[in-house]
Subunit: 449 residues, 2 copies
């Protein structure tokens, strides 16, 4: 739609310029504004009678505690977001590594821009579509941590590569795939930068053994003009066992050294990339010490750190806080920066509350959302929820909250929930209000899933 | 965004009309086109260099089998969709009941319009936001099968009710809630039509016992000018046991008769509403025979029938085909009309294939997607997948497909997957191409989640 608006605004403006005096810039301003405007048909915002830019929305004076937002809503807490943004950048930099945050988590170009401004090397993405979204919003370096497969996906990337300022990498893990890429990009007269993906046994994609590697490298040598091997990549987060992960990372370094030594890698420095949101400390430690016999650029790709959570990644971060010397020295950690707010709809049984929050609004694949705050109807004061409150079930649009008989709770009360798995929280929302510490809406973040 | 475009187009056109001769209608056409245009930043479509209307997209000659779409994609099969549309309308009409399809499933106004055109009484929705989306796209009768809770949600509905042609119903299940609605709509000088929700023990929302009912009716009598009780509503789909459901529906009829008999219901005919997508036959049977001592409008609300599935609702439909005399007589049944298509990315182990399809693209809460068709790279001929192929795991953007050693499958092959739980398939996609029987793209359906 952004592009729809943009192109229609451009068309209109093109025609206007034919007919109207050049000094009439007002119309152009109007057109540019329309490109950035947020329509009134999104869930989780306040009452809008017309489209508004994020800046106009910020000037509405909406406050979540005053019930200015339509619930359910997913909100980002600005201070915590900025804290996490800086924390991870600092952590990664301390290792002399580069941060390429995984953008698939948020798919929010405004957050990509914040990450790049804070020092990120580039943005990691998972698909050609996601890459296109990032590019159209100004991102000029993308590590697509995935195979680029299929005619239209290759065509999308080919189209972006016409821009000489666009620096793009994707993964290869089979000779068959290299041949497909080689043939396609040869037909376009273009070159494609790739990283060799290594995988662990029982893992996801990635080369498993010497035979696969040999045939891939042989195929690469047939497409030297089209396919440029720039480094080695892994995703260690498939495993949850630290010693398995350490072994895998060390063997990755050994394979990288061999591949580099044999002259297959054409980039200097060589890229060595890994790290999801759970083991970035271990990858930083091992990769930053890797000796490949040449300059190395270590590129790490956590994505969930920006909002963090109170589930999977909270546990991971506790391990990091305990074990990692740099995290210990930093004396602060990541903070959960995204909450879901919903209303109490009904209290049909003494210990059961029905809340207006469902699978359409919340992640549920790594544990259900956790009650965090309770605001009684009309009170505007959030209190911590009792420890015994918990969600027991979620349907498409409802959740069951278990309480104790006699707990004070009413229809119309607001409850905030912490989450587990940020990726599956963001993709439920096209717009997320950003709140300051007083719960005032100070910005809106749009997503492009 | 639709509204953003619309209002920006209106603003621009307003100014143009001040400056340019009235006969220059070309610009207006351009603006209207821009409102209906689909931008090039959506996943699952073909390569677009600019925004296009659905009609323009249909004229591109895209064919899924020719790899004209960027995969993964979620497609709707037009013939099957139309078959299901007509099948359900006919089934419900045979019982003399009204169909108010649950729109939360698709949140696709184009499909709402098809449902209404085929004879639907109205559209069922779950939230104030969904109601607003439907209204803005022309829907003028909504049964919101949920409590209307919270200041901005009430304000949204209040704003739509300024249109005297908008016929709206929502649910009440507690005195506390009735008082909140009464107070709000009194302050607006408006009336709100409600249905009394009855619930089953261990169920979701809804009045459970005589005491709750009595206090609710007493509260209703205090707000007679604002809150108009129009009927009785249930959601039976909480249970999976037919005899429990039949008992619940019969007791619902008895309570409805009592409430009507005591003069609490002001609408004639009285609305009696129930039915999710699994038990609509049983609800149709029992409610259509209900004698409330007055004219009754039975309103049934299945939503998943439009695309159907091969999981939860396939099982439900098999029961209906076997047990229901009208379904048996119709000699046809619902057909799965939505599939997900994705590429083979990697075959890293002999019996493991990595497919470019993840939790971002597919429902996974009622069983993982099921492989259905296999198109070898370059062949353009879909074959049924071997029965032993199955998904064993899904991550955010990838799926693990288990095959047998020696099966013929290659990187770049396309695989179609059937799904279980349509609601959680639609909400992963902002645009779904509609295909004819030759896999040509003949339309695009947009969603508004």
């Amino acid at each position: 739609m952004l592009h729809a608006l943009w192109s229609s605004a451009q068309t209109l403006n093109g025609r206007l310029h034919e007919r109207i005096a050049m000094h009439d810039r007002e119309l152009l301003v109007e057109a540019v504004k329309s490109v950035r405007a947020i329509g009134p048909l999104h869930k989780g915002l306040g009452l809008m009678t017309q489209a508004m830019t994020p800046e106009e929305i910020a000037r509405q004076g909406w406050n979540l505690l005053s019930e200015d937002l339509s619930l359910p809503t997913a909100v980002l807490y600005q201070e915590k977001l900025l804290h996490n943004l800086n924390w991870m950048q600092k952590f990664i930099q301390t290792y002399g590594a580069r941060l390429a945050p995984h953008g698939k988590t948020t798919m929010a170009p405004k957050l990509f821009a914040m990450q790049l401004k804070t020092g990120a090397w580039g943005i990691t993405l998972a698909t050609a579509h996601q890459t296109q979204v990032a590019y159209e919003h100004g991102v000029r370096r993308v590590l697509m941590a995935n195979q680029l497969v299929g005619l239209q996906n290759m065509a999308k990337i080919s189209s972006l590569l016409r821009d000489p300022d666009f620096d793009f990498f994707c993964l290869v893990d089979s000779a068959e795939h290299v041949a497909q890429l080689g043939s396609f990009f040869k037909s376009k007269g273009q070159r494609l930068q790739v990283l060799l993906e290594l995988g662990m046994e029982d893992g996801r994609a990635g080369v498993r053994d010497a035979l696969q590697l040999q045939s891939l490298l042989a195929e690469l040598s047939r497409w030297k003009e089209q396919i440029l091997l720039c480094g080695v990549e892994v995703y260690e987060g498939i495993s949850q066992d630290e010693s398995t992960i350490r072994d895998f990372l060390r063997s990755t370094v050994a394979v990288a050294k061999k591949v580099v030594g044999e002259g297959h890698v054409v980039r200097n420095p060589v890229i060595l990339s890994g790290a999801g949101s759970a083991w970035y400390d271990v990858v930083a430690e091992i990769f930053s010490e890797a000796d490949l016999g040449c300059p190395v650029e270590v590129v790490l790709r956590p994505g969930c750190y920006l909002t963090h959570d109170v589930g999977t990644y909270k546990s991971a971060q506790q391990r990091i806080k305990t074990n990692n010397p740099i995290a210990r020295k930093m004396q602060s950690s990541l903070m959960p920066a995204l909450q879901l707010w919903a209303y109490v709809h009904s209290i049909p049984e003494r210990n059961k509350v029905i809340v207006g929050l469902g699978k359409r609004d919340a992640p549920f694949d790594s544990g259900l959302p956790t009650p965090a705050l309770h605001v009684r109807r009309g009170s505007a004061t959030p209190c911590a929820t009792p420890a015994h409150w918990k969600l027991t079930r979620m349907m498409d649009q409802h959740a069951y909250l278990e309480i104790a008989e006699g707990d004070t709770i009413h229809v119309g009360d607001m409850i905030a929930f912490d989450i587990s798995h940020p990726c599956l929280a963001f993709d439920k929302w096209r717009c997320l209000p950003v709140l300051d510490a007083q719960y005032r809406v100070v910005d809106v973040v749009e997503t492009f899933f």
